[in-house]
Amino acid sequence: MQTILVFALLGLGSGAVIAAVAIGVVLSWRGTGSFNLAAGASVMVAGYMFWAFRTGFFRFTLDTWPAVIATLAFMVLYAVVIELLAVRPLRTASPLAKLVASLGVLLLSQALVQVIFGTAPLASPAVLPDDVIVVGDVPVPVAQLILAAGVSLLAAGLWLIYRFTRFGLATRASSENEVAAVLAGLEPSSISVMNSILANLGAGMVGIAAAPIVGISATTIPLLIVPALAAALFARFTSFGIACAAGLAIGVGESLIFYASTKPWFPNRNGVALSGVQPLVVFVLIVVALWWRGSSLPQRGDLRERSLPRVPKQEQLARRMVPMVAACAIALVVLPSEFRQAVVTGLVGTVLCLSFIVIMGYVGQLSVVQLALAGIAGFGVARLSSRYGIGFPLGPLIAVVMALIVGVVVGVSALRVRGVTLVVVTLAAAVAVEKFVFANPDWGGGQTAVTVEQPSIFGVSLGTDAGFRGLGGDLPSPVFGLCALVVTAALYAFVANLRRGELGRRMLAVRSNERAAAAAGVNVRALKVAAFAISSALAGVAGVLFAYDFGTVSTSMFDVMTALSVVASVYVLGVTVVQGAVLGGFGMVGAVVPLILQKWVLPQNQVGLYVQLLIGAGLLLQLRFYPDGILIASATKRERRRVERLRGSATPPVQPANQQGVAA
């Protein structure tokens, strides 16, 4: 019993961080109506800055208190910069655009921190006393208690501010109804910047104090956003108290699960407890929170724009595809080895991005679980052949079906939610799959990579090791590349075709207006499930191809940050057109664009980080200057010109009167 209490108290440390991030999420929602995925990144930034001030990273060393003040001052600056860069330009944009902007901030902050401070986790000097108090007869570090108390105080303080000050009233008014608040003479942009400074100061204090306890790592801290989102959901994105309590409770719960995993009754394999139960529980919590606390977030009466970019028509598909396919085919044969590999990876990446086009572009469901689904298929194809001897072509087929089933399960558990809330569910699902499935040495890869048997049919190898005349066994063989090209081209045509047909029309109808779609006879639920199935299957195909392409599968290929980068890059380019998938695919790490950058432009060893940096920065620039995505901006212009030409020659003009018809 006492041990349980100790573990519960130990969980308060990470619980405090989760609570602080959850409070940051609530503040962002109330202050600016943005769904802040970068709330966890603030804690990370504060932790690193404090470490840097204390350890002389900037060639000077500060004592504890000056370092705390310097860090908090930096957090204010950080808040203002983000406000100017990613929040203010999008003040009237849709919740989706704001969410994507926060994704850009997350990617940018994480990449910058890693470029500046390196990728290894750091040990921060302690701030809180390392005393121990004895509970019962078990020692508990007092720092954990101070942290939890501090976060609770923060929540209470914020509650007081919101409840009793004019500023709090103004924030509440503008989050209820921004238009009315403007009309009442309130200034939403200064309210917004104050809230974001508050959020970052809170995150900063917790980041400084918690860094020695939870460790400073740019890969783990930003992802605390997932349990924090669960806590924020329970708080309906409004209550600081509930967000704080739920965050602390999740930390305690995770710690208790860790304790339970030391027990013999805990599910285990050969005496080693199953890992990744915590994120699975968080995922379940989020689904429960969504059912229990209502299907969607409280609505804000914002000035709204259309939430997703328009979807240009797909004309002259064959004529556009033939040169691309031919160029890829030639490249696959004549280019040097590493470029051949990069082209194949680009093709596979294209298939992965196509799955985003279907689910995000066509149906408007922002899902980030696709890469995890690809991972399920990738590990599936590896395990099916190594363990059960099921090889090509049955193995990949089963693997794709596995991805499809998991994707549909995630989709169904999120059927009642749409738009930005879906991100929470799919993000949690992606983390759960990564930690629970991929990290499991039986189902996934554990800490090591799993070798994949190359495909062959009737004794003819189709794999990367297949013989090819004239290359003298130089890997990778173009045979696999050409197979991947055929698959990619077919799926590209399929997704483009989807836009032109009945099913695609219905998807867009649902995207535009679910109510009106139902009134036009569209079964909205069935259609969403179908869309999840299609996009999951596409992701599954991509996963199988990745497995064959690299010859091994490992957890790091399918991690959440990679998934977020891919989502962001597709969004930058154009999430509603198939061409965006091609560019997104060829821009993935390992594909052609990063390879070129790596060879001639960027430092060799950190190309992934720099690509993430570019994507993050690109996202913020794109949202500002081409809110629809780069390809869609140009396609829209082209389409408008075509329509104008048509109208000028044949049909009477649409606009009110018929006067211009004569002139034309």
Binding site: G501, A516, G521
Partner: protein
């Protein structure tokens, strides 16, 4: 006697403690236009939401004799119901033609799979026919965002009629139209009944309703207070008192059904 295209039997809708619609019964016979009028907040739109399945209700809703009370909105549409909205609610991402095409029938799963692999085509003749029936054939290629409010209304009406429904509920189709547009709309709606489609028409423009409908139902505070042919309603004391007011009668001289 055949079943009416639409029958509403004792329908009530409650929002919390508020009774928005209280025990309303009405019938829309085949090929007829029934008008539904009443002051603001009388529960007209709520009744249409209940008929279309967007709010839960007590009582029964029947389409061509079939009980559809427990069906989801899209399933009611497949049984022959169409509706429009006051705020039109077009699919802004789709062209006018595609807006209409979405509502034309439901493709079989096989047809859906097939068209994913061969180049799909829009049934131009059929979509064009639907658009022509409300006089907007020339807007085929246009995007909804480029249209005037009146044109958007017509696209919404075309979409509601696209699936050849038995009955269409029109929620304020004439709001925002000018006098000549309203008159043209009335004629078009009369023309659409010749195809056998019935309508339940809600509007504030009394002249339009009386001039277009075969039968008028008046609701106030969620309850039916009168119904009958337009000329009877026109003369009904209680209606005049509750809703029309004497001035309304003087300014909006109603004609008979044209």
């Amino acid at each position: 006697m055949t079943a009416p295209a639409l029958a509403v039997r004792g329908v009530s809708v409650r929002y919390g403690g508020l009774r928005a619609v209280s025990n309303v019964s009405l019938e829309v016979p085949d090929g007829k236009i029934v008008g539904l009028i009443g002051p603001n907040g009388a529960g007209k739109t709520t009744l249409v939401d209940a008929i279309a399945g967007f709010v839960a209700c007590d009582g029964r809703v029947e389409i061509a004799g079939q009980d559809v009370t427990r069906l989801k909105p899209h399933a009611r549409v497949r049984r022959g119901l169409g509706r429009t909205w006051q705020a039109v609610e077009l699919f802004d991402d789709l062209s006018v033609a595609e807006n209409v095409a979405v509502a034309i029938g439901t493709p079989s799963p096989w047809a859906t799979v097939k068209e994913l692999f061969i180049k799909p085509t829009l049934d131009k003749a059929r979509v064009g026919g639907v658009l022509d029936s409300v006089g907007i054939g020339h807007l085929f290629e246009a995007m909804p965002t480029e249209l005037s409010e009146g044109q958007r209304k017509l696209v919404g009406i075309a979409r509601a009629f696209a699936g050849s429904p038995r009955v269409v509920c029109l929620d304020e189709p004439a709001a925002g139209l000018d006098t000549s547009e309203t008159r043209a709309l009335g004629l078009q709606l009369r023309g659409l009944t010749s195809g056998g489609t019935s309508m339940l028409l809600i509007d504030h423009d009394i002249g339009f309703v009386f001039g277009t409908c075969d039968h008028v139902v008046v609701v106030e505070f969620g309850e039916v207070i009168a119904e009958g042919p337009p000329h009877e309603i026109y003369a009904n004391e209680r209606v005049i008192e509750a809703y029309l007011g004497s001035s309304a009668l003087r300014t909006n001289d109603p004609g008979g059904p044209s």
